[in-house]
Symmetry: C2
Subunit: 286 residues, 2 copies
């Protein structure tokens, strides 16, 4: 195995000893949990952690509990060596790669569930997703005990779910949202983009543009209902085979926007081939 | 307000600052969460914390989330000054009395649930109890961040639930069980014992004796089924109006005992007047 400019930790005891040592030296610890298959989107979160903390820990763990039986857990890309190589070009101090058996030992039977912000959107098609996410993130945060943890705005509902969990359970950790990494044509970076054919990839680039246009018209005074109707038509015309959701929500609570909502978020999930793309963007409301 | 030989902390920020100071000085922190209405049973847990840690924090919080609507949340005894006085005679460094509004802020929507050990027994009559307990204990542990926390064996299923949660969520805290405090006649101490009439109090003292006798006969070779049948008959004859459960379980998993179970636990809940008493004791299996 080549040498990397960070330590690779696979056991919880070793992780805790390392973190305790750093903390004892007065270092602020930043944490970026990932499922591997790293792309520039993840690496920008790693960079953000480096700006805000003295020591950066990245975890790589493909969490079985957040995949439904029909989803792509077995096929989810696992590219450990290439992930290590990408991380070696950034300021990373430790990469934590826990064993699945250690994460979910025999008789594992605890679940963390979050209501409110988890309702609708992703939950409509993935009802167990946020339960699996909240539980594994609670575990990872308790294992690493960072001062701050970075989650991408790409998974906006997930970011708000984690924020709510951390607040409600009084976990002494700051949750920081990192901006969505985008390709040259604006497509939100995603590990699953690797599965797009050339044609699909071209269509995929339209999602963010159609969303951007809908937001511009809403901010210019169009009613959200009309703007979103037109955007759905445009998405289907562009070649997406389904619009699972395209909704304007309150950016903090994810509730439907009300007359006094100041800060909105447009969130979308669309189908393309057998794949599913998600994206979201801020909306300034009058 | 009289001076007490400990600090009284009502705000989370102040608690965290105090704990950080102690930890920075190398002190080991022990924590005893309570719902107040303190009796010698609680105080023995406080003493145990003092044996195992350098600084002892006791919390007093009557948790609404673990009472069902028909249960006695409003009537649960609240005796803050008398609790402080009792604690002032023990080695206590801080008493944490959080505000209910701070524990459950607006839009609170996170729950911790534990399976396995929570099945049956107390859950049969109190289906939401352990969800409420697990969630508030997760919060309190994250607030206090002790090195160890003490829970009474009196609430044995609760102790195992907390142990399971802490293990499953990788909370870096040792959970220590404290022996059940007992009155002279062996009655397990409980805040609710104060509600017993004189006659009921005499009957209540029979529960532990009948359980002890059943355990002696099981350890002497009687089949559990026969021993427990006889004990149930004896409980009703003694004046209890119901035996909600009287069960021999695996002491670690709370599963029904199997041929290879070494360590058992006899757990009981009985009705007396409008009240409910619980108790439990270890059973050595052949």
């Amino acid at each position: 195995m080549p040498d990397f400019p960070f330590i690779i930790v696979r056991e919880l005891d070793a992780l805790r000893a390392q973190v305790a040592g750093w903390r004892g030296s007065g270092h602020k610890i930043g944490f970026v949990p990932t499922m591997g298959a790293l792309h520039e989107g993840h690496l920008s979160l790693v960079d953000l952690a480096g700006e805000k903390a003295d020591k950066v820990i990245v975890s790589i763990f493909v969490n079985p509990a957040q995949f439904a039986p029909h989803e792509d857990f077995d096929d989810y890309p696992r590219t450990e060596q290439s992930d290590f190589e990408k991380l070696s070009l950034r300021a990373v101090d430790a990469v934590y790669v826990p064993h699945g058996d250690a994460m979910y030992p025999p008789n594992f039977s605890t679940a963390v569930s979050v209501g409110g912000v988890t309702e609708g959107l992703e939950s409509a098609t993935r009802p167990h997703f946020f339960g699996g996410v909240a539980t594994v993130v609670a575990k990872l945060l308790n294992q690493v005990q960072p001062d701050l943890a970075i989650f991408g705005e790409k998974d906006y509902q997930q970011l708000l779910t984690i924020r709510r969990m951390v607040r409600d359970l009084d976990m002494p950790i700051e949750i920081v949202g990192g901006a969505t990494g985008r390709e040259a044509d604006g497509l939100a970076m995603s590990s699953r983009n690797a599965y797009l054919t050339a044609d699909q990839r071209e269509t995929a680039g339209e999602l963010n543009k159609i969303m951007r246009h809908a937001i511009d018209t809403i901010e210019a005074g169009e009613t959200p209902a009309r703007a979103l109707d037109k955007a759905k038509t445009a998405l289907l015309a562009a070649g997406f085979n389904a619009v699972q959701y395209l909704e304007l929500r309150d950016a903090e609570t994810l509730e439907p926007v009300k007359a006094n909502t100041k800060s909105g978020r447009l969130l979308a999930a669309v189908g393309i081939g057998d794949l599913r793309l998600i994206d979201n963007m801020p909306v300034l409301l009058p």
